[in-house]
Amino acid sequence: MSEPLVKMRGITKRFGGVTALIDVDLEAYAGEVLAIVGDNGAGKSTLIKILTGVYQPTEGEMFLDGLKVAFSSHADAIDMGIDAVYQTLALADHLDPAANMFLGNELTRTVLGMTFLDNKRMRSETERVLMERLGVRLKSLDAPTESLSGGQRQAVAIARAVYHEGLRVLVMDEPTAALGPQETARTLKLIQTLKAQGLAVILISHSLDDVFEVSDRIHVQRRGQRVGVVETASSNTQEVLGLIVGAEEAA
């Protein structure tokens, strides 16, 4: 395999006396879905928060495309092309999808020296990005986001991340946790679409069914350590479950 797009080496994170991560390595390749699984408190969230610049590691280093990087904030990570879609989606439900997609990053035009939001262009751009990148068409772009289904809301949140042209790594935190079977299938299809576009997708999920359906490799965390990385194609639920709960160690 070629050089990984993202490489994390020896990441350790301590919160006061609590060690959340101990010497964790992670590799993610472009055009690949890497799933991170593990029990509650295994350090999944901490690991991706370090990757997305929300937390800074106590020890260890990160490489993006072979270059050493260090993020002091989430905005730094976004600038370098690493963004995340959170479980809560971070959408403002009363705003329409276009307003949400450009929230904090609005398109503007200048009229008589004053800056106004360009709602028309934001709307057409939203339609374009949803269609071209995600293959999603919303029935109405005027309705507030709260009237959309779970999967459509997810699509808007993902569209916000992929609108950034330089996006190379997309982290998705429990994208299917609150979705029904149909919406889950649709979201998994979105993940495949993004992968086909050459993004490195890092998926955090509790649902092994989803993980086995969509991922290429599975990174298993347990008690703050990486206990294994398996190729999805040559593994099975039993093996991964065993790694998660540490059965093989005990046996």
């Binding site: 403002a92 705003l95 307003a99 929230l103 990053n105 609005e106 106004f116």
Partner: protein, 372 residues
Amino acid sequence: MNTTTQTRTTTERLEPYIAIIGPMVMILAILLFMGVAEPARYFRATNLNLILLDAALYMPMAMAMTFVITQRGIDLSIGSIAALSGIMMAFLIKQYGFSVYVAVPIALLLGALMGLINGLIITRFNVPDLIGTLAMDLVYRGLALVLAKGLVLARFPDFLTDIGRGQIPGFVPIPVLIGIATMIAGYVLLTRTYFGRYTIAIGSNPEAAELTGIAVKRHKVYAYVLCGACAALGGILLTGKLNAIQATSAPYFNLHVIAAVVVGGTSLFGGRASMLGSFAGVLLLSMMINALVTLRIEFFWQSVASGVVIVSSVALYTWMQKKDRDGAGGWLAGLKTPDGQKMMRFSAALIGLLIALLALGGLFAGTTNPSG
């Protein structure tokens, strides 16, 4: 099947305008009622002028309050800000001989400054908005009383009375133009600028707003500054309208304006703003008060009527908002549930006790002793 999809699309199409329907229905009801009860005096041009003149006073404040409430805030200090900035402007003109063209902008800036203080108290000292602005209401009112003592400052230059009650011949009064201009500016601000967009985002989902990099606290302060400046504008309009100002002026501005905004469909829980609704709400309250005057109902009933209108339009609005009305089985069905039964028994006991005590008092009543 076809009909259900049809109705659904109609409700969907109505969705953005649902806020305006509540006050519109109430306005229509008032128009119909007055059309039957007192058409000749209510629909006179001079009376319509009076209604607009009254409404104009509240328009700027309702516009600003829409932003504050949309951000999940509230500002209870606008009445006092209006009085205090009006008093200060009056002193500058009367006592220090300031030109009115300088004093009016100074008053606006003073109002903005008071709003800034409100905003900083809420965002920097983390005082809840309800307590913070209630306390500052006392502070500003107290300062106005300290400054003016019991004085009524009156007789101002023409410019002030012009913007307060000037009439464009054959057209509407000047303050109405000012009021409508602020509402239009508010609409543009709400829908076409960063400030408006972030206001809705903050009220809708503060965590998401923070996550997307919006300066939540700064935009909250902006809303309070706007509210302060608009309250000062209200104070200026009031001073001009009455050609007089005193420390106790504008006593119930805060509740009147909040009522107008809430009646207009802006949600107290944040995120849902309707500038058009606020405009309709202001008109509705002014029309109702005017109707009471036209009907020669005792002045003291006004506050009763205001309260009833506010409760009924907000109830109507939340009822329209409710998506799932099927299966509820009418609004009396709730009484049949065990919890409804308990509430019934509790209410019956309370009212029964009251009646019993009244009867007891009536039975053993002695001779009356008039207090006068």
